[in-house]
Amino acid sequence: MSNTSDRGMPLEDFYRHATEIVRSIETVIDGKRDAVNMALTVLLAEGHILIEDVPGVGKTMLARALARSVDCSVNRIQFTPDLLPSDITGVSIYNQVEREFEFKPGPIFANIVIGDEINRASPKTQSALLESMEEGQVTVDGSTSVLASPFTVIATQNPVEMEGTYPLPEAQRDRFMARISMGYPDEAAEIAMLRTRESTSPLANVVPVVSTVQLISMIATVREVFVSWAVEQYAVSIAQATRRNRDLRLGASPRATLHLVRAAKARAALDGREFVLPDDIDALAIPVLSHRLIPTSRLAGDGAPFAVGAVADIIARIVAATPVPLGAVGPA
């Protein structure tokens, strides 16, 4: 989240690196191409990822594999109910030799931070992540420290109805660019997994395929992707439609629109295009928007504050109903 002045790379090179990252991750995650693509899209769009699913489907594995495929600093925080904010951001400790307070950076100071089971921590601790995720900096005892660049939080969480979980507040959810759901593997993938992981941890075999410099250059490439006025208009129409929808209590925030377009740029680049299509917006609308929208209580049903399927349906209907602007249009 810093101002990278690096220049982008040719689309061919971008594409090659992206393919390598995907292949690398796929050595440990079988049959989850969509989830992997989505995670890579968000990483390249400088967003944060929320991987949500039931325990044991490979959420942490995806996060770690993605982190390890890139040669950069990686920290992992296991969120527990007794975790304190300072356990994330770091603390100032009095150095008796130097006779002054010295800041000991916490695990947040890394290019990729894996927040495991983020919804097991108390809301207070969760909110410690807020500033760092949005602004790329940490303020402790009045002094501000800038985080590494690139900086991406890959958080995993269990569905909220599981025991011992605190639902993420709306503000925090809004800071994640996309939510990915892993889903159970299909039969063939599950059998293959049994074979390959009987003995060793497959993660041990994952080696970095892209350097930090290359990653920064890839991110710069994504920034250079062109977004036409028509596509911007389309994204805004969808966001506005969510705000008007009768079945939604909370619609998409302006930040959500921003994330939608940024993610679309990454997707366009990954598709080898130097410009965004409405199709990119269509494909990303559900992963980018669904975790931010709150359905009315009528749809939420009993005991399930976020009816994931219902919200996805609403978004799909909105996307299907929003006209796609055609032609070289511009702001009037």
Binding site: E274, P278, D282, V319
Partner: protein, 753 residues
């Protein structure tokens, strides 16, 4: 969604209009008029809806609806004087004026419920159409549906205004409900509970309040005798006779000093339920300064000229009180015209009130011998005056037969009939028929009158006229005034008479060959029997009814069959909505309507074809864009029955087309990350993907040169491919009734926001 709101609101408005229209059932006969007006409203609201679909400009819709209203009025009422049958010319406009005047007269002449005759129909279409356009403009263009209640209320008030009675409360309640539905349709998110409560209050209120209010009685017209208040002259006559307050209707003097029967109008048509005046279109050439020949009068009959100076003091009527037969009238103001059949003088736009004029008339003095000579001969062209309904109660004709059926000549039959009424057990009573429920002139009334033997002039006159018809004597009923009473003082040396409202009278006129229409006086104790009909006069034969020697009703010169048919026609006309068109013109109408409908149905096809031609021409000239080419492809696909939603991205649309038609092999989906490198954009692809790619670049890529060389060729190729995989009926439909135009007008997919 705006379109859904539009459809909902227009639907509610139409419902409200139709319900409100139904309230007119208290003043109009039959239900044909309702369907006509319903169709008119539906077309007008439909046109407005359609125009709103096609254009964003709000003002266009009411304008278009108004134009269509004028075109429809022209097409259905005055196509002869219009360009192409529906574009009104100056002449059409003046014909509209004539129709309006006739409508006024028709309203004045008819009893309630009235027949929706052509002029009345025109008036209704004009008024209701205007109200529909206005209500639509208020609801949809101005977006104030609440104000649409005003034109609806006007419509609702029409029956009340005419009948001086509260409108049918049920209709009123439903109209109120429909109005609330209209308000709710505009704002579907309003609280339902509030609306229901409000509706309940309105509906209950509309049903209860009229019952609580004191009865509304018509204001008594103390100013004079009225004939133009929307009622049949017959009913007006009865009401005026029964009115206690007697007032002066007119004064007149005559040169000869003889009292005059002053006739207003003759009722020529007996429909079975009523005697009604014949109201042919006004001939503007027929100024009353020189009136036509007296029908049927031959030179042999002795006549005497007379001049009457008439001043109307208290009479509002479209017909002029005149002696019969009048040859000329002078001194009138405004437009008055004479009718060649009845020789009555009427005005399309004035009443008699305040008129002062001089009428030159003839006194016809036929001798009994002349009348007798007429025998039973009836000219063939008088079939109208012999027509009787098929279901005429038997008692009328059997009574006629038993009273006069055996007499040798029509004259003697007439004498016997008059004698039957004057010299029998009949008594004069203005109240008995009302009390016993047989007031009026219908055949049921006549039968009851023959049984009860009590009634007033109109009963005697109509009974004698109908009985005369059943015996083959052409007859009609005249409505007018008895001569009145002589004033003590002379005016300008002439004897003066004054006529009051109690002198209102009706009498039968019978036709005799060579003499013409001849007055009889069957009413007991009223009027004055003319000398040729007075058995006490010298020369008048004592008529003998020879039992058994039944002379056939209509004589040889009037064949029975055509007579019957004419009767059927009269009946048919009155059974339906009384259009005066003959069967041939009816077919012509159907043809014209079908042709117009066909032309209208081809409008979308024409618009579509011209837009395709224009697009392809521009494309070939390199002056168009890929997006335009793409639109043409998608529209063609829609026309051919392949559904491509307008919310589909170019890729989705291309995929749909490919699935629907197998056009362009080499399917391509979005290249997945980790797959092959994205291929060179256009290499090795078919026209569909080339065009799709051009559209995407044009719409979403940074500005740059887009190759347009192949656009036209690709477009025509794709269209040809799409057509090739489509069945012939679909292709024909695509050309003649292109669905893409209809979906523009009636969107199929409900769009959600």
């Amino acid at each position: 969604m705006r379109r859904q709101r539009d459809l909902r609101v227009s639907g509610s408005l139409l419902t409200a209009l139709l319900v409100t229209l139904a309230g007119m059932h208290v003043i109009l006969q039959g239900i044909g008029w309702w369907f006509e007006l319903a169709m008119l409203c539906a077309v007008l609201l439909g046109v407005a809806l359609l125009v709103r679909r096609l254009s964003e400009r709000r003002i266009l819709a009411p304008l278009a609806a108004a134009v269509i209203l004028v075109a429809m009025l022209t097409l259905f009422f005055v196509p002869q004087s219009a360009l192409l049958g529906f574009i009104p010319t100056g002449k059409s406009l003046s014909e509209f004026g004539v129709l309006l005047n006739q409508a006024g007269i028709s309203i004045a002449e008819q009893s309630l419920p009235a027949d929706a005759t052509t002029p009345i129909s025109f008036l209704l279409c004009l008024g209701v159409g205007t109200i529909a356009v206005l209500a639509d403009a208020l609801t949809n263009a101005a977006r104030i549906p609440a104000l649409a209640g005003v034109p609806l209320l006007i419509l609702l008030a029409v029956p009340s205004a005419v009948t001086m009675d509260i409108t049918d409360p049920v209709i009123f309640a439903f109209a109120a409900l429909a109005y609330l539905a209209l308000l709710r349709a505009d704002r579907p998110r309003q609280q339902a509970g509030l609306t229901v409560a409000l509706s309940a209050v309105v509906v209950v209120g509309s049903l209860v309040v009229p019952a609580l209010l004191p009865n509304v009685t018509p204001a008594v017209n103390t100013g004079g005798t009225g004939f133009s208040s929307g009622v049949n002259p017959v009913l007006a006559l009865g009401n005026n006779l029964r009115r206690d307050a007697e007032h002066t209707v007119l004064d007149y003097t005559t040169d000869s000093g003889t009292p005059q029967y002053l006739r207003l109008v003759s009722l020529d048509n007996f429909t079975g339920s009523n005697w009604e005046p014949d109201t042919p279109a006004i001939r503007t050439g027929n100024r009353p300064q020189h009136m036509g020949n007296v029908p049927g009068l031959s030179a042999k009959v002795k006549t005497k000229k007379d001049t009457s100076y008439i001043t109307v003091l208290g009479l509002t009527s479209p017909w002029l009180p005149l002696p019969y037969p009048t040859a000329s009238v002078a001194g009138l103001e405004g437009d008055w015209y004479w009718d060649p059949i009845g020789l009555e003088v009427r005005s399309p736009n004035r009443t008699t009130q305040g008129e002062s004029y001089t009428a030159s008339s003839l006194q016809i003095n036929p001798t009994p011998a002349q009348l007798q000579t007429a025998g039973t001969t009836v000219p063939a062209n008088l079939g109208q005056f012999l027509a009787l309904p098929r279901d005429l109660p038997a008692v009328i004709s059997t009574t006629a037969q038993s009273v006069a059926g055996g007499a040798p000549s029509n004259y003697e039959k007439a004498l016997l009939l008059q004698e039957f009424f004057r010299d029998g057990d009949f008594s004069y009573s203005e109240s008995a028929p009302v009390k016993d429920g047989y007031d009026g002139t219908g055949m049921g009334v006549i039968a009851a009158f023959l049984k009860n033997k009590s009634g007033y002039c109109i009963h005697f006159a109509s009974a004698m006229a109908v009985m005369a018809r059943s015996l083959g004597i052409p007859s009609r009923v005249a409505v007018g005034f008895l001569p009145g009473s002589e004033l003590p003082d002379k005016i300008d040396g002439r004897t003066a008479f004054t006529v009051t409202s109690h002198n209102l009278h009706a009498w039968p006129e019978l036709y005799f060959e060579g003499i013409g229409w001849t007055r009889f006086e069957p009413t007991v104790s009223r009027g004055e029997v003319p000398s040729y009909a007075d058995l006490a006069s010298p020369g008048v034969p004592t008529p003998v009814n020879t039992p058994g020697a039944v002379v056939p009703g209509p004589t040889a010169s009037v064949p029975a069959a055509p007579l019957r048919r004419f009767a059927d026609e009269v009946q048919g006309q009155n059974g339906s909505s009384a259009s005066t068109t003959s069967p041939t013109t009816g077919w012509l109408w159907l043809l014209v309507a079908a042709a117009a409908a066909g032309l209208l149905a081809l409008v979308p096809a024409t618009v579509r074809a011209s837009s395709r031609y224009r697009r392809l021409r521009l494309l070939r000239g390199g002056r168009s864009t890929a997006v335009e080419a793409w639109r043409e492809v998608l529209q063609t696909a829609t026309d051919l029955g392949m559904r491509v939603p307008e919310t589909a991205t170019p890729r989705d649309a291309a995929q749909l087309l490919r699935e629907a038609s197998q056009v362009n092999v080499g399917a391509r989906t979005l290249a997945p990350v980790g797959g092959r490198m994205p291929p060179d954009e256009d290499a090795g692809r078919g026209p569909l993907d080339r065009l799709r790619s051009a559209v995407e670049r044009e719409s979403y890529a940074p500005a740059g040169a887009i190759g347009r060389a192949e656009l036209a060729a690709d477009t025509t190729r794709i269209i040809a491919d799409l057509r090739a995989v489509t069945s012939r009926p679909r292709r024909v439909r695509a050309v003649l009734i292109p669905p893409s135009m209809w979906t523009r007008i009636f969107p199929l997919s409900g769009r959600e926001e």
